[in-house]
Amino acid sequence: MTLAPVLVLAALLFSLGVYGLLARRNAVLVLLAIELMLNAVNINLVAFEAMLQDSLATGQVFAIFVITVAAAEVGIGLAIVLLIFRNRATANVDEFSLMKW
């Protein structure tokens, strides 16, 4: 198995995530886009681990940590979105510009 196609897949997935993050209005969709990016990382980690034949399975371990943390982060994200939705009755990220740079 060659590594390259997997890496390309991961890169594409990551790019898709970035695009989603930048282009989606709805906060929930933005959160999902982030999940895409993190999963791209996971693909990378697992693929590299397979290529390297790491005896400690470091890549997989790393991936599991990433999955866990990603879950926590999405939890936090949803909590924030919920909070905002309560206050402002919208979940569109582009409407939050009270503070200017």
Binding site: L22, A23, V93, D94, E95, F96, S97
Partner: protein
Amino acid sequence: MTNFLLAAAEEEVHSAVEAAYTSGFWAEYAWIMLVIPWIAVLGIIFFGKRMKYLGAEIAIGMLAFNTIWASILFILNITKGVVYEGAVTIAEIGSNLIFELGWVVDGLSIMMYFVVSFVGLVIFIYAVGYMKGDVRVTWFFASFTIFAGSMLVLVGAPNLVQLIIGWEGVGVASYLLIGHYWEQKENSSAGMKAFFTNKVADIGLIIGAIMVGVTLGTFKFSELSNAAAEHADSLALVAGMIGALLFFGAMGKSAQFPFHIWLPDAMAGPTPVSALMHAATMVTAGVYLMARTFPLYQNLAEDIRPWMVAIATITLFAMGLLALVADDIKKVLAYSTVSQLGYMMVAVAAGGYTAGVFHLFTHAFFKALLFLGAGSVIHAVHSNNMSDMGGLRKDMPRTYWTFVIGSAALAGIIPFSGFWSKDEILVTLGHEGYTAVMWIAIAGAFITAFYMTRAIMLTFHGSYKGHGHPHESEPVMTVPLIILAGFAAVVGFLNIPGVEFGGRGNFTQWLGMREVVMGDHHPTAPDWGMAAIGLGAALLGVLAGLALFARDKATQQERDKFEIPALYPLLRRKYYMDDAALGLVWLIKAPFARAIDWINDYIIDGVVNTMGFLTAGLAQLVYGGLDQRGIDLGFNAFAYASGGSGERLRRLQTGRVQQYASVFVGAAVMFVIGFVIFG
């Protein structure tokens, strides 16, 4: 050139000096004369107001003390000859730059001590009467004492630096005294003019002193000759320049053309100030400097002497002419002083050390006398202008007669002192080969006699044209007049060639009592031919004056009908010299100074402020620009690149979180691309 140095450094001088009385009490402690004026100043300032004569007694006591001391030295010099020098070091920089304060006692300085102290004393006494009821007598006497004290420091200076100290001190005192009535702006301006003009000339003195100090490694007059011998090579290059610079300095103080402009204005001060300034202090300082540094001119800076003679000649003649048209009696005397200073300077410049100094000596007495006499008149008629005078002869006989004696001395009428000293100058000029100058000087003698006759006629003869009833001044003023008249009459005899006093020759030998021989020409017998020519010119002047001004008329203006059409406006405007000077000052003050101020505020500070505002503007640009345009731009570009539609672009512009994120990603991409390209 250096042959003189060798010769001088050898026998004659040393034999003379060694024979002299060098270390007596009076010479060793002569510094007291230089110090007590300053103690007196403090005494006057702190206690003067509480005293009966408001501090004058301290000033007079001090000068009386100095007069006695100077007289003793004078007598010692006549009998034994005195050469002594002492100093305390006030600073040592490195090994060869030493600053000292000290006192020198030799023929020249003894003569000056005496003149300053004695003439000063007389004037001070006179001033007690003259200044009675003045707004600030104490202040006046304090300044007066500073004046005399500075002059003593100056003439006692054994080195150039101390001379500069005294020199500037004299300048400040003159500023204070000329501007004594500073409530009027003209008076304070006159003081400023005096100080400022002198300050300009001082550039020469200071730079000259620096060049002497650096080239020769000493500022001491007594070491100048020896040091000059040692550094003959390096000195040869700069001697002329040093001479010119020192002379430049002397021109200021001694009011040589074109620095004479301050002197007539200086009449703004009380009359005793004019007397002191013109007789003993201030204006003689320049001549004194030339006399003190005479060996330098005599032997090293020979090249510039003709120039000096030329300037002095212009001064003696052109300034004498100005005295013809002045209405203010003090201005007549002032221009006459400038003219006489020209005589002194021309003599010294031509090589007549003794002649020049002797004229200084005699001039001190008769000019003090004339000013005090004028003061007495002014005191009586409350005006400076001769147009308000006339016929005072009967009301003020003592003033009249003393004034006549003074005028005669000034005009060079035998046997008064001015005759002898002026004669010696003429002789010297002739001997040194300045024949043309000599004839101009003779013409000058004619003019002198002419304008003095005019002054006497307009003031004392005819009928009184002023207001009120003038009467003779009180004794405190007339007694000094009489004393001075006595001296003005007789001091000329001290230097009749061939006539000796006290076994050590006459004034010439007393004056020559210095560590270095002066090497000027000394006639051994009177030159009666020259005397006759000089006297003739003077008498001619008197006659001309009598012819023109003797007759009384209704107004003084009518009497004063002396007009030379071409010359008169020129003289009235004082050759436009004052206008030129004023123009220069205006030029500096108005356009230059304003330009600098403008440059400061608009250019330099403008740059500084611009930097500040630019930074602020840049801040606005970074803050506002990046926010409003840059980020949008970057984000739009990104959105466009990712295939976004116009509708999306518009929408995305408002979503700030995503804008931030897009910049974030964009920057990351830039970094990567940067490394791909440049890495």
